[in-house]
């Protein structure tokens, strides 16, 4: 057990160091990590408390407050399921320090346990904050007895186990299916996309016209039916049912132990297959396609992007969703989809908001320099200027953002936007499309991480990716704020376009001057 804890400890600190783009963890930098964790906890915990109080107050008014813990438990489980599904390849399979770990005098079982524990610890932080928030709010609103706090405290440690198992099993099956096929990464990406989409669109089958309290109750009932452990948890914490708590704990722990044992059996085999790929040694030299240096870099960058499932799944989901929405639009009622949102925003405000939000999540350049990792020497030694390299990275991001232009035109036609509205939406989309890649690149050059061992850290947890995504989403919020502040869609949109163009000029100037110097010094 000591070795497992030591391995988890090393991996967590390495991950935290990677997240903050620092190599050796000196005391000052350790303090930065602590400060970051505290800030993250406070912001997330505060937001969740606010949200729990909002929902809890309504539930209390309808005498359904006992639903609140199960709703948040379900929310935490779904988040664990999604985030683990993304992380399975890269944490459990296909991680870069596999060779180093396997060469250590530690049993396979302990290595597997350390990798699963790593997934557990990563998820536990989120579950702890979520359930902490709901415990506080439920305590205030429902005034439960001591047994609620005791059972909820125990349940927090058990909650992540089953979602981790489900996501890991699904992730493992997807890895197994995909590695046997030629374009394994693409197939893995598509399979995960499909799974997440099915999960996302499932709630739409629930009647959303009910009042929030009734809907929440109906949702909790449905969750209990789909996921019986949620029912056990609910009974245990809200009714103080000891038997439910014991069954909940026993099922979670036994399933986790069984899963760890099972995965240990295929760990080495699957990792070997995931990491080596196919090997034929039967190539005959044929015709070669010639490209310009920029096009060659662009093609290389594009292939690099699609070779990393975690990169695609985290930066391509917005555009995939937008495309699906565009294709489905003729068959769905937009006002139904908007639900309660339609009271606050009009359709012509809602459409660009959705498109801009999807674009904000499609920033590939936030990690494109870091993703070079140990390959950076190639880019630095070839006879191509830094500006051309930047252009190739921006072009890939622009290509991935291009469906937003198409979507804005098609949505405008379907929803019968006026010419002016359509033009404005297009201008918004094009301006923002030019901003996102250049901004991401500047941020990545400012916070590069070239020593990563796990792509997930660069794509999801690095300083550059957090700053880029939150800034881009923040700008979408600014767009909404401008519309509300001016009380006029046209004035707000035009002000936003002006703001983006000012930012674009600054960003491109920074990129071509300071950005080039930063790249040279990498």
């Amino acid at each position: 057990m000591k070795k497992v804890i030591r391995l988890v400890n090393v991996q967590i600190w390495a991950m935290l160091a990677n997240m903050l783009s620092v190599g050796d963890l000196k005391k000052k930098k350790v303090n930065v990590i602590y400060a970051g964790i505290v800030l993250f906890t406070v912001v997330l915990g505060g937001t969740l408390c606010y949200y729990a109080y909002f929902v809890g107050s309504i539930l209390k008014a309808y005498n359904s407050i006992e639903v609140l813990p199960s709703l948040f438990m379900a929310f935490a489980c779904i988040m664990v399921l999604f985030t683990t599904l993304y992380k399975v390849k890269g944490t459990l399979f296909g991680f870069k320090d596999f060779d180093l770990l396997m060469s250590m005098p530690v049993s396979n079982g302990k290595i597997v346990a350390s990798r699963i524990m790593l997934l557990y610890v990563l998820n536990f932080v989120f579950v702890f904050i979520t359930m902490g928030a709901v415990t506080v709010v439920y305590g205030i609103l429902a005034r439960p007895g001591l047994i609620f706090y005791l059972f909820n405290f125990l349940a927090v440690f058990l909650l992540p186990l089953i979602p981790i198992i489900i996501a890991s099993v699904l992730g493992t099956i997807l890895s197994f299916i995909s590695i046997r096929l030629k374009y394994s990464n693409i197939i893995y990406i598509v399979l995960v996309f499909l799974l997440v989409l099915v999960w996302m669109f499932l709630p739409f089958s629930i009647d959303t016209n009910e009042a929030l309290a009734e809907a929440s109750k109906a949702m909790a009932d449905r969750i209990n039916t789909i996921y019986p452990l949620a029912g056990l948890y609910s009974k245990a914490v809200t009714q103080g049912n000891i038997m439910s708590m014991i069954i909940f704990a026993a099922v979670s722990i036994l399933a986790f132990m069984l899963f760890t044992w099972g995965i240990g059996k295929i760990f080495v085999k699957l990792n070997t297959e995931v990491m080596t790929g196919s090997y034929k040694a039967a190539y005959k030299l044929g015709e070669l396609n010639i490209s310009s240096p920029l096009m060659a870099l662009y093609k290389k960058e594009f292939k690099r992007y699609f070779a990393s499932p975690v990169y695609v799944l985290n930066t391509g989901f917005g555009m995939a969703l937008l495309l699906i929405l565009t294709v489905c639009l003729p068959f769905i009622d937009m006002r139904d989809l908007m639900g309660d949102v339609q009271l606050a925003v009009s359709l012509k405000e809602f459409v660009p908001l959705i498109i801009l939000f999807c674009m904000a999540t499609t920033c590939t350049t936030m990690a494109s320099v870091s993703m070079e990792g140990k390959n950076l020497w190639i880019l630095k030694s070839i006879p191509v200027s830094a500006k051309t390299i930047f252009a190739s990275k921006i072009l890939v991001n622009l290509t991935l953002l291009s469906p937003s232009v198409l979507a804005s035109v098609i949505i405008g036609i379907i929803l019968k936007f006026s010419f002016i509205d359509e033009l404005l939406v297009l201008l918004l989309v094009v301006s923002f499309a030019l901003f996102v890649p250049a901004f991401g690149l500047v941020i990545n050059l400012s916070f590069p991480n070239l020593t990563w061992t796990n792509e997930t850290v660069v794509v999801k947890q690095s300083t550059a990716s957090v700053i880029s995504i939150f800034s881009c989403i923040g700008l979408v919020a600014v767009f909404y704020g401008l519309i509300k502040f001016t009380d006029n869609f046209y004035t707000g949109a035009l002000l936003f376009i002006c703001l983006i163009w000012i930012l674009n000029i600054i960003i491109y100037k920074v990129l071509t001057e300071k950005g080039v110097n930063k790249f040279i010094k990498l």
């Binding site: 990491m275 080596t276 790929g277 196919s278 090997y279 034929k280 040694a281 039967a282 190539y283 005959k284 030299l285 070669l288 396609n289 010639i290 490209s291 310009s292 240096p293 096009m295 060659a296 870099l297 093609k299 290389k300 292939k303 690099r304 070779a307 990393s308 990792g373 140990k374 390959n375 020497w377 190639i378 630095k380 030694s381 070839i382 006879p383 191509v384 200027s385 040279i520 010094k521």
Partner: protein, 239 residues
């Protein structure tokens, strides 16, 4: 072909890896750069290749400063690092074609040169496979082929023989000799002193960032072997 003028490099934290290094490599030279671990060989090589940024001194390739026109310098240079981390998501042929595109190698020459060098290093049948499936030696061979297909005027190699099988090492030595006959210059680091002694017409020995011996191999070694000279130099305490 290569002129290093008073080049120095100090890393963050104050470590002076290279201190006032000056040397010259002419067309037709095979220059062996020798030194103990941490002497400053890789730092110098990375600076020549344009991979490492530096402030003090200058490096001229084909008469052009790498600081002033890095793209030209890189165009006529090929660099092979000691540990060739290549794009694992590409196949061998896709990587070679990528390099061909970047160096704008003509279509007709490209096919011929890839075929010639891939055959020489017995890698042709593996070119369709993903680089991720290659062994260390195969990656090293691919890096060497990629360096040769654009016919560089200056070939810079860091420990090129590490990881190569004896046949591939022999092939590389033959190609290096042929390149020099054709007017190219080669600058390489090695710990294998016998290879340096046999292959190089000029040698430089670096110790703690400073050049302690430099010149034609015969002049540096005199009546002793290169190994004896090297051991004597590295064991002598600097004032």
């Amino acid at each position: 072909m290569l002129q290093i003028v008073n080049f120095s490099k100090t890393y963050k934290g104050g470590k002076r890896a290279v201190d006032g290094l000056s040397l010259e490599v002419n067309s037709g030279d095979i220059f062996g750069f020798i030194g103990h671990n941490g002497a400053g060989k890789t730092t110098t090589i990375r600076a020549i290749a344009g991979v490492l940024n530096f402030e003090e001194g200058d490096i001229l390739i084909d008469g052009v400063s790498i600081k002033r026109d890095p793209v030209y310098c890189k165009k006529v240079t090929a660099y092979i690092p000691d540990n060739p981390d290549l794009y694992e998501h590409l196949s061998g042929i896709a990587y070679l074609n990528f390099i061909g595109d970047i160096y704008e190698v003509e279509k007709s020459d490209r096919r011929h040169l890839i075929e010639k060098y891939a055959d020489a290093f017995e890698l042709t049948s593996n070119l369709g496979d993903s680089i991720s499936s290659y062994s260390h030696g195969m990656k090293q061979k691919l890096a060497i082929i990629s360096a040769l297909i654009h016919s560089p005027k200056l070939l810079v190699l860091d420990e090129p023989f590490v990881g190569l099988d004896p046949k591939a090492a022999h092939t590389l030595k033959g190609i290096m000799a042929q390149m020099c006959k054709n007017g190219s210059a080669i600058f390489f680091s090695t710990h294998v002193l016998e290879v340096a002694e046999k292959l190089c017409n000029r040698i430089g020995i670096i110790k703690n960032g400073k050049l302690v011996a430099y010149g034609p191999t015969q002049e540096v070694t005199g009546d002793s072997s290169l190994e004896d000279v090297f051991m004597e130099l590295v064991e002598t305490k600097q004032p």
